[in-house]
């Protein structure tokens, strides 16, 4: 057991979870009515889904490899695939079900593809669906969040010497408060990196740093008392 590495990995995982939550397209209740950009649910549900998918793929990879990078990357890929499928399905439902075009409500011109957004937006709404820049941002968010979750899983499994089940639930339990504090920071809805709310990121980072540091210390205590070793 290596206390410094555990704390480093847990803090890095917490910070990445917080960053990931800021990058996801979270629409909340307005998106359920098609009047806001993003996926029609809260940050917690999206982030929990992405992180759990990431943990499944990371746990599968961890059964046959000891490489940190490989485990973390497989977690990231799992979460990214999950996010992509969800965003694609949201777009299919919005376009073919509601008959509205995916359009961003926060910017007039798409920052990546330079496509005009404002003319396609229904008046009095805040955008619809998942347009290009939001899709890319969501992919990045899934990647970063899944990477963070898998990093924590790897640290708890190999550095803290927990069993696979304990490591998975421990990683999820530390991931969740970080993602939720980030959700409180963005007040519920966000489109991605081009959203003005993204500038609030440092506040969530500070909180996330403190919480994951404390959680990391808790994990070190638990690992030291149960598995033993040199501190």
């Amino acid at each position: 057991m290596e206390p410094i590495l555990i704390i480093l990995c847990v803090v890095a995982g917490g910070l990445l979870a917080s960053l990931g939550a800021h990058l996801l397209p979270v629409g909340g209740a307005p998106a359920a009515m098609g009047t806001a950009t993003g996926i029609a649910t809260g940050t917690v549900q999206i982030m929990l889904g992405a992180a759990m998918t990431g943990l499944f793929t990371a746990a599968s990879a961890a059964t046959f490899t000891d490489s940190l990078l490989l485990v973390a990357l497989s977690g990231a890929i799992g979460a990214t695939v999950m996010m992509c499928v969800v965003m694609l399905m949201a777009n299919i439902l919005y376009t073919f079900g509601c008959g509205i075009v995916p359009v961003s409500g926060r910017v007039d011109v798409d920052p990546l593809t330079k496509e005009p957004q404002a003319p396609y937006k229904t008046p009095q709404t805040d955008g619809h669906g998942v347009p290009n820049c939001v899709y890319v941002s969501g992919m990045l968010g899934g990647f970063v969040g899944g990477f963070g979750g898998a990093l924590m899983y790897f640290a708890l499994l190999n550095y803290a010497d927990f069993s696979a089940g304990t490591a998975a639930i421990g990683a999820l339990a530390i991931f969740v408060p970080n993602a939720i504090i980030a959700a409180y920071n963005i007040r519920g809805t966000i489109e991605g990196f081009h959203d003005p709310k993204f500038k609030r990121l440092p506040f969530a980072m500070v909180t996330s740093l403190v919480i994951s540091l404390l959680c990391g210390i808790m994990v070190v205590i638990a690992s030291y008392l149960t598995v033993g070793g040199t501190m």
């Binding site: 909340g28 209740a29 809260g42 940050t43 917690v44 549900q45 929990l48 069993s163 696979a164 089940g165 304990t166 639930i169 421990g170 999820l172 339990a173 530390i174 991931f175 969740v176 408060p177 939720i180 504090i181 959700a183 409180y184 920071n185 007040r187 519920g188 506040f203 969530a204 500070v206 909180t207 403190v210 919480i211 404390l214 959680c215 808790m218 994990v219 205590i221 638990a222 690992s223 008392l225 149960t226």
Partner: protein
Amino acid sequence: MTVTPAVVEEEPTKKGLSFKLPLDETEMGLIAGIVAAIVVVFTGLPAVIKGIALILAFLWGMDSVRKTSKYGLGTGVPSIGVLATGFGVVGALVGLALAKYGSIEGVAYPAVLVGVILMGVIGLVAGILSNHEKVIAMKIPKLERAMMELGMAGTLIILLECSIVTGSLNFNAVVNQVLNTGLIALMFIFTCFGLLHPYNACLGPDENRERTRMCSVEIVGLLCALLGFVMIILSSFSWELGSIASVTISSPWKLWNGVSLLIFGLAVWAYFFRMFIKACMDEAYETVGTGMIKTIE
């Protein structure tokens, strides 16, 4: 004009239905915390008593969720329930790791409460940072206290559930029977829902605390029934599927505890579910049936 008499008329029916458990939020927190802490220390107690402590702990957590979410979190009620469960699992891990100090094997594990207190501290820090004007600035009155209570209630709930299923709080026993079997995933989701669902389902302009609490107790009844079922399974089968062929009851203590908890859970669920639906019907202005949905030719 017609609204006032209707409200006056409703008062007596509300009184008759109100949930008997008295106490305001602070008293509820103190009593639930103390009872749950005592029950969690003595793991030799029958599962039904642990189930009652579980109900109290959930009521405490639900109260904290309610008084925080009343002001509008911006992310929906579920977030704070999931937060409490996340804190709870981390606190329970530390509590279980500490359990061996000063313990009487199979009877009492006083050191687990250190995990509860440590989680209370982390919750307090999270609350202070979330409410501080220069950091996240959520501006919710008494968020610090609510997050501290949620951390403590979450830890107590997870520890009680582990103690019900395992019958002890020995780290290795819990890891083998709860964490490695994947039972923790079920507990995680059920604890989330026990904390977040009552207020999430009842919120609105006419929300009242008694009705929300009925919903909470009802969910804990379901959880108890489920844990009782799990105990029956754990008592008669070993975890290798091959041994199903020769069913031997390895732990009669666990079997009878499981059966009693299952019956207790179902009884609590049935009673409070009926009470909850009745309260909803009575407190609604009018309940009318819409009949079957008509198909258009």
